[in-house]
């Protein structure tokens, strides 16, 4: 997030898109609900499903799945045409508006209605509400990013925010809601194929030399590595021999699971380090038992870039070890001795090699976390980014055209499938499905389907359905719901029985390599 979570209550207008906020970020959603209920904020929701937060919305715009660039360009078309944009901000803080204007010219409300299905009147109204707000906050999640146009979608939202002067101000910002406790931290720490900690590029000689010195190694590899999604392809082709997986379950979270399983089985050696025997661990040659969050010291970084402490409350079961200890053990055995007395000592090394973490140490995190960048120990941290200028100087508008999703419906596969999470479970269910009460509230997979589609396919509520895509088929229970819109069904991806990702399409965004989980074509029929 460019802005802290507390800023949501300071916004005049909140635009939520591609985020089922109340179910996936419940506590953060209460900020939105309070802003609307008690602070007079207006809420615009753009989502293919009539998700619960729409109850609080001034406007719910229903776009066809995978048409986000079109409606965002459409809003900008209206804002440019009616000269509602923040001229001073755009002139002094950004570049590239002329290109953007040219591109959005053809995205008239009529044209956008044709692509997205959003009635032109609603689009114009949304654009006006958004542009008139002194401070408008954009909240988005995987509904924006998990598309072949994911990067384009995010850039388009950034365009919209900059056009209205909403970046770098209190109550504004472009705010991705991150789905996992430490996905931000994993990125910050260089758990990515192209960067070291703090997004320092591996292909930069100066940075590499600095890291070589800090780590006491002669030569670090310069070529960026594979992304997780391309890694599966390489494993499938036999180019990748060994995979060491720490605390992840791609056998339920990857798209096109049948393909993922073949890829993992094709490896010479698979090590899985986890707290449970997951679907992925079952395929491993060696499984290493680790400590859960309650059994270790360390830090997580939340969605607002706040580094917060994790504290050990109990001992791990049996002989399970903390992940960092296992890595230290392995490194030593492979000829690179690592020596840390505890997690705090590792953080001291992180701070030493990471400019944005320089000022962070456990002493300062004792009661309250710190937002990075925090360049020195007397720096208070940075809750809001890009305040006086953008990190890169001027904010750059990216002129972007709409491209359709990788897979469209046809006669054989006439329905769109979109996937996501539900309130009572988390990701692949490894943790939540151990709590009896959560299983009681959400026991099994289901297909959320509109009343119209249910009538078309003569489906009754609660009946068993077979859902098939070009990649596989699953069975799940029909749930006729007011949340669904005709033509699109939804399946949560938590469940191993009726796993949505057997169906999903592994088509990737060319820049971020994110799979298009949110759009694929399916057919439904009654299960035999």
């Amino acid at each position: 997030m460019t802005n802290p979570i507390s800023d949501i209550e300071k916004a005049d207008v909140i635009l939520i898109t591609g985020s089922n906020t109340t179910e996936n970020h419940p506590v953060l959603s209460s900020y939105v609900k309070r802003a609307v209920s008690f602070k007079g904020a207006k809420l615009i929701v753009v989502d293919p499903r009539k998700i619960p937060i729409t109850r609080f919305a001034t406007l719910w715009l229903r776009q066809n799945v995978g048409t986000d660039v079109a409606w965002i360009n459409g809003m900008m078309h209206v804002i440019v045409k009616e000269k509602l944009y923040d001229e001073e901000y755009v002139n002094t803080r950004t570049v590239g508006l002329d290109e953007l204007k040219k591109t959005v010219q053809k995205y008239t409300p009529e044209y956008v209605e044709g692509i997205s299905g959003i009635p032109k009147k609603q689009l114009i109204e949304a654009a006006r509400i958004f542009a008139h707000a002194p401070a408008a906050s954009i909240l988005y999640a995987m509904g924006i990013t998990q598309h072949i146009s994911g990067t384009d979608n995010v850039k388009s939202l950034a365009n919209l925010a900059m056009l209205c002067g909403n970046v770098g101000i209190e109550g504004g910002g472009v705010n991705p809601l991150r789905g996992q406790n430490n996905v931000q931290g994993a990125c910050d720490m260089g758990g990515l194929p192209n960067v070291f900690t703090g997004y320092q590029r591996v292909d930069d000689l100066v940075i590499r030399e600095r890291m070589e010195k800090a780590w006491g190694v002669e030569r670090l590899p310069a070529k960026p590595g594979l992304t997780a999604t391309l890694m599966m392809e390489k494993a499938n082709a036999g180019d990748l021999k060994a995979l060491y997986i720490i605390g992840e379950n791609p056998m339920l979270s990857d798209p096109n699971l049948n393909h993922a399983q073949k890829s993992l089985e094709n490896l010479d050696f698979l090590v899985v380090q986890d707290i449970f025997m997951t679907e992925t661990a079952r395929l491993a040659d060696v499984v290493l038992p680790t400590a859960s969050f309650a059994e270790k010291n360390g830090t997580f970084v939340n969605t607002e870039r706040k580094v917060q402490r994790v504290r050990k409350a109990i001992d791990p079961p049996g002989s399970a070890r903390e992940d960092w200890e296992i890595i230290v053990n392995l490194a030593g055995r492979m000829g690179y001795p690592m020596s840390y007395s505890d997690a705090e000592a590792i953080m001291a090394e992180i701070a030493a090699v990471t400019p944005s973490y320089c000022g962070i140490n456990y002493g300062r995190l004792e009661y309250e976390g710190i937002h990075w960048p925090c360049p020195s120990t007397d720096h208070p941290g940075t809750p809001c980014l890009h305040v006086d200028q953008f990190s890169c100087g001027l904010g750059v508008f990216h002129a972007i055209d709409y491209i359709p999703p990788a897979e469209m419906t046809n006669n054989e596969y006439p329905l769109y499938l979109t996937t996501g999470r539900i309130l009572y479970h988390y990701h692949t269910g490894t943790m939540t499905m151990k709590t009896h009460g959560l299983n009681e509230l959400a026991p099994n997979s289901f297909v959320e389907i509109s009343r119209e589609d249910a009538e078309t396919y003569k489906i009754s509520n609660g009946s068993r359905l077979k859902i098939a895509s070009r990649r596989g088929e699953i069975e799940a229970e029909a749930r006729i719901s007011e949340q669904a819109v005709a033509g699109t069904v939804f399946i949560p991806f938590h469940y191993a029985e009726g796993a949505a990702n057997v169906l999903t399409n592994a088509a990737l965004d060319p820049v971020a390599n994110i799979p298009e989980y949110k759009v694929c074509a399916v057919k439904v029929s009654k299960a035999a």
Binding site: N24, H25, P26, V27, K33, Q180, N181, N182, V183, G185, A186, G190, G191, F196, V202, W215, V217, L220, G225, T227, A228, M231, A235, L240, Y244, I246, E248, F269, V271, D285, V286, V287, L288, P289, A294, G298, F300, T303, Q308, K312, D315, P317, G318, D323, W324, I327, V328, N329, L330, R333, M334, G335, Y336, Y424, T430, M431, H436, L438, A512, P515
Partner: protein, 377 residues
């Protein structure tokens, strides 16, 4: 005296327009007892425990809902105030099954009341909130004996038909904190005051059970309840105050909001989770997963020993054997097929420190940049 000044207990203080007497007092370290007051929600003045005396005012006023005004002269602990608080506490205690402090009743009615209060099968232990009850604290502090009013008849059966929350309205004092927590903090709008007069109670829409209502089991109401009326199921059979339980402040391990929570720990087990109230981002709020989804930590299915697969089946191994095998295989593959034939999937679930070491291991030890995690998935 200047415009924005007032006097509390003979000392002069400044205040900001819009502040209540309670806020001015708290800011200056003066403690006024509260019961129904919920920080972050609009004050209701329902319980009348925060009564104070304002010079010139005919009646005592509630500090939580009375705005500070210039030249006010306030007494927070005058004999009149103390007597009024004690009287209100007696009324609250007599409103239901508050059978932990009934030493004032005469012998006959004492036994009858205790028997009646312990009648429900859920009341076999005295009260799960014993020792962690705001009403009990205040009753002790104000030496309330509860003999002026006969205990009320219990009209409400205990509701346990959901996975997480026990609603025992026989212990509800109608302070309204749960209603505010639900409507003003979480804004789930699942409960409100219902019925009138002596029939009054907290209800869901249509007075249905929580599981059939709009409730999403965030448990904000349980954390807000100052008595034993709303408790978690796991607490139901606990003996109340347990000095062996320690609380550890940590960060939730589910979504990316990073709620601050306390793990309540006893005998190496997590037995309860509550939100940390005076820090962001959550200020005490949690969701159903964060508050109730902790069973995985103590699950018997947790992996406890390294496992090695032989002939298609896993067998247990020592750390030494497992690590040796991993070292040997990774070293051989690195030598035969090069570092880029190895990939490390680090994790959005583990700590920064662990991710840091995972990528350092990949780059410095294996010698490849093949490291990524599920940010894309």
């Amino acid at each position: 005296m200047a415009e924005d000044r007032l006097i509390i207990n003979d000392n002069e203080y400044t205040f900001e327009p819009g502040e209540t007497i309670l806020q001015v007092a708290e800011k200056n370290g003066i403690r006024i007892p509260t019961l129904c007051y919920l920080k972050g929600a609009s004050p209701t003045g329902a319980c009348r425990i925060c009564l104070v005396e304002v010079k010139g005012a005919r009646a005592l006023v509630t500090a939580c809902s009375t705005p500070a005004a210039s030249n006010m002269v306030i007494k927070t602990d005058s004999p009149r105030v103390i007597e009024a608080r004690r009287f209100n506490l007696e009324l609250l205690l007599s409103s239901g099954n508050h059978n932990c402090l009934v030493q004032g009743l005469d012998m006959d009615s004492w036994t009858d009341f205790q028997l009646k209060a312990m009648d429900a099968k859920e009341h076999k232990t005295l009260c799960p909130a014993y020792g962690d009850c705001r009403l009990q604290d205040l009753a002790v502090r104000y030496r309330v004996k509860m003999n002026r009013f006969p205990p009320a008849e219990n009209q409400h059966p205990i509701e346990t038909v959901n996975p997480f929350i026990v609603r025992d309205l026989s212990r509800c004092i109608l302070c309204g904190r749960c209603v505010q927590a639900c409507n003003e903090v979480q804004v789930n709008n699942a409960i409100s005051f219902g019925y009138r007069g002596s029939e009054a109670k907290i209800v869901t829409k249509g007075d249905r059970a929580l599981k059939d209502s709009d409730c999403v089991f965030c448990g904000e109401c349980v954390q807000a309840c100052p008595v034993g009326a709303l408790i978690t199921k796991d607490e139901m059979h606990s003996p109340g105050l347990d000095v062996d339980i320690k609380k550890v402040h940590t960060t939730c391990s589910y979504c990316g909001v990073g709620c601050q929570l306390y793990l309540h720990v006893k005998e190496n087990k997590v037995v309860k989770v509550t939100g940390v109230e005076n820090t962001g981002p959550n200020h005490g709020s949690l969701c159903v997963k964060g508050r109730f989804g902790y069973d995985f930590v103590n699950s018997p299915e947790r992996l406890q020993k390294p496992l090695i697969k032989e002939n298609g089946a896993f067998r247990e191994a020592s750390w030494d054997e497992a690590l040796s095998l991993v070292t040997e295989r990774l070293s051989r593959i690195k030598k035969e097929s090069g570092p880029d034939s190895i990939f490390v999937l680090c994790s959005a679930r583990i700590t920064n420190e662990e991710n840091y070491l995972a990528q350092k291991f990949t780059r410095a030890v294996i010698g490849t940049n093949n490291v990524d995690h599920c940010a894309r998935l």
